[in-house]
Symmetry: C2
């Protein structure tokens, strides 16, 4: 199951009950949204935050969010009261971690703070507990190296807000145990998120690198006086973003040439190599195109490209109707 197709109650089918409860460390915007993710999927959630104010505000924040969601998309939160009833808030880190099979660390993103909080967690967890950090771009190896249980730590990066945007990047350090990685990916799928796995640690991970280059180019185009902020935004919101809301860039180009991704690469990589305000680099190398083609052809046989394009168009048509209804007009 994926993309909010989570079970309202965790069932033994997924072995979730065996895993105990979930601990959220840090109840800011991201932490609070994580509480929703796990609690709506049926988990008991134990939350720690050092701030009295943040702890006091959490349940009312959840009530407001859940009431809003009930209004616009009931399917996402079937039973707000049951969700709230699964959440317990603690001023003591040790009590929040008690019996937790998984800890989602969501404190402010500085290496020093992450390091000190992860070491505190490390000293308190049992031998089976796994810890994911919400770090949005700092590799976990820069703050977990000296942890006794460092094999149990990795970055598990959500997009804001995770209870509405399902992707999570799982970014292990070289010392993270493969079993822990597998378990976290499974847990994420079980609670309705879409895990993607990074095979190497890099700054910014995949998501913020893709966002970063697009933002850098958007700023450069604006700086050069090519178009207004509003018009640059419109090229995404009424153009590229429509396809990208249900298919990624590779799947998109795979449907944009009769012979699929390889055909597209041959036709257009020369164009894209030179076309940027950013310093250009060489065109996409042959060997890489061949490898990517293999992956895409496994996902979609070449004979299915035109059928799949027709399906894309039917989704685009419905997305248009949806957007008109949901956002007024444009």
């Amino acid at each position: 199951m994926s993309f909010w197709g989570y079970a309202e109650e965790a069932s033994d089918e997924f072995g979730m009950m065996d895993r105990g409860s979930i601990a959220i460390v840090g109840a800011g915007l991201i932490g609070a949204s994580w509480v929703l993710v796990f609690a709506r999927a049926g988990f008991r959630v134990q939350v720690f935050d050092p701030s009295n104010e943040t702890r006091a505000g959490l349940l009312s924040w959840m009530n407001v969010r859940l009431a809003e969601l009930q209004k616009v998309a009931k399917g996402i939160v079937a039973d707000p009261e049951a969700i709230i009833s699964r959440v317990e808030v603690f001023s003591d880190l040790g009590r929040a971690l008690e019996g937790a099979s998984y800890v989602q660390e969501s404190v402010l993103e500085t290496v020093d703070l992450k390091k000190s909080v992860c070491h505190e967690i490390d000293a308190l967890i049992g031998p089976k507990t796994i810890v994911g950090s919400s770090s949005s771009g700092i590799p976990s190896s820069s703050f977990t190296e000296d942890c006794a249980n460092r094999a149990h730590f990795m970055a598990v990066h959500p997009v804001n807000p995770p209870h509405l945007i399902p992707v999570v990047e799982i970014v292990p350090a070289t010392w993270t145990s493969p079993d822990c990685i597998t378990n976290v990916a499974k847990l994420m799928r079980d609670v309705g998120q879409v895990p993607v796995l990074l095979k190497k640690e890099i700054d910014g991970f995949v998501l913020n690198r893709l966002q970063g280059v697009l933002l850098n180019e958007a700023w450069a185009l604006y700086e050069d006086g090519i178009a207004s902020i509003e018009d640059i935004d419109a090229t995404i919101a009424h153009g590229l973003g429509l396809r990208w809301s249900f298919m990624g860039p590779f799947e998109t180009i795979d449907l944009n040439a009769p012979g699929g991704i390889q055909d597209y690469a041959e036709r257009l990589r020369g164009l894209y190599a030179g076309m940027t305000r950013l310093p250009p680099r060489g065109p996409w190398p042959d060997a890489v195109v061949a490898k990517a083609t293999q992956e895409r052809r496994k996902a979609l046989p070449e004979s299915e490209i035109s059928n799949h394009s027709a399906w894309r168009d039917s989704v685009l048509a419905r997305l248009g109707e949806f957007k008109r209804a949901a956002t007024g007009s444009s």
Copy 2:
């Protein structure tokens, strides 16, 4: 009106009737989709294509597309028969251009072909006719310089397929008349498209530059073995693309820091400056950030940021439900 909120019949309110009919030159994939755009908005459409086969296939292509659209999103094409009845196909360019107030040139994208076709059109049009080229990245100045009516020519770049993706880039040459630009922008809005205006000609325009940098980085990440094609795609389709399907990158970051776009730039531009496999450039300059901030604050007062973020979340929630219904699961 915008984004498919077109009038089923063109009315004199928009002065559309005064403008006569629309000519489409070249009835390939893009040309055929343009026929749908104008015909469903109530215009008479005269189509020229030199190929017997393409001409013969156009109406049956339209019938198939319209039948599909009727099934999934009736609102987009209220009356297929009326739409078809407005279309006439010609083997003679001159007859297709007769009485046309606007010509959408949609031939294959090479400078030589565009040049020769635009010169033919130039010799046949009346003094009030405007010509837009579907060029996806070649500036029109490279193929219209010697046209007698060159003030009436510009690039009007759609995204494939324009009857489902509304954005069009209007890219005038230095010699394009401001009146013609204004009229084309109005025409595009009248037929339900979302025009964006480029103030200067650049290769690739805005849309393919933004797509290009994201594709280049995606290929580089894949080449470096950071993640699979499927997982890179998922970071967009289940992550960044969800917001981008209804708000552009600037509006997105404007909502991702408590103080809006300026606050976001101050917090994160250092991070993004270094974070790319592509050769890095310096951080977004102060003066540019200040100017962009002005534009955004005109569009959305700072006091409205949190309300607008709540609205974004309500759309994301509904988009999630829509996606589940429209695409099965993920």
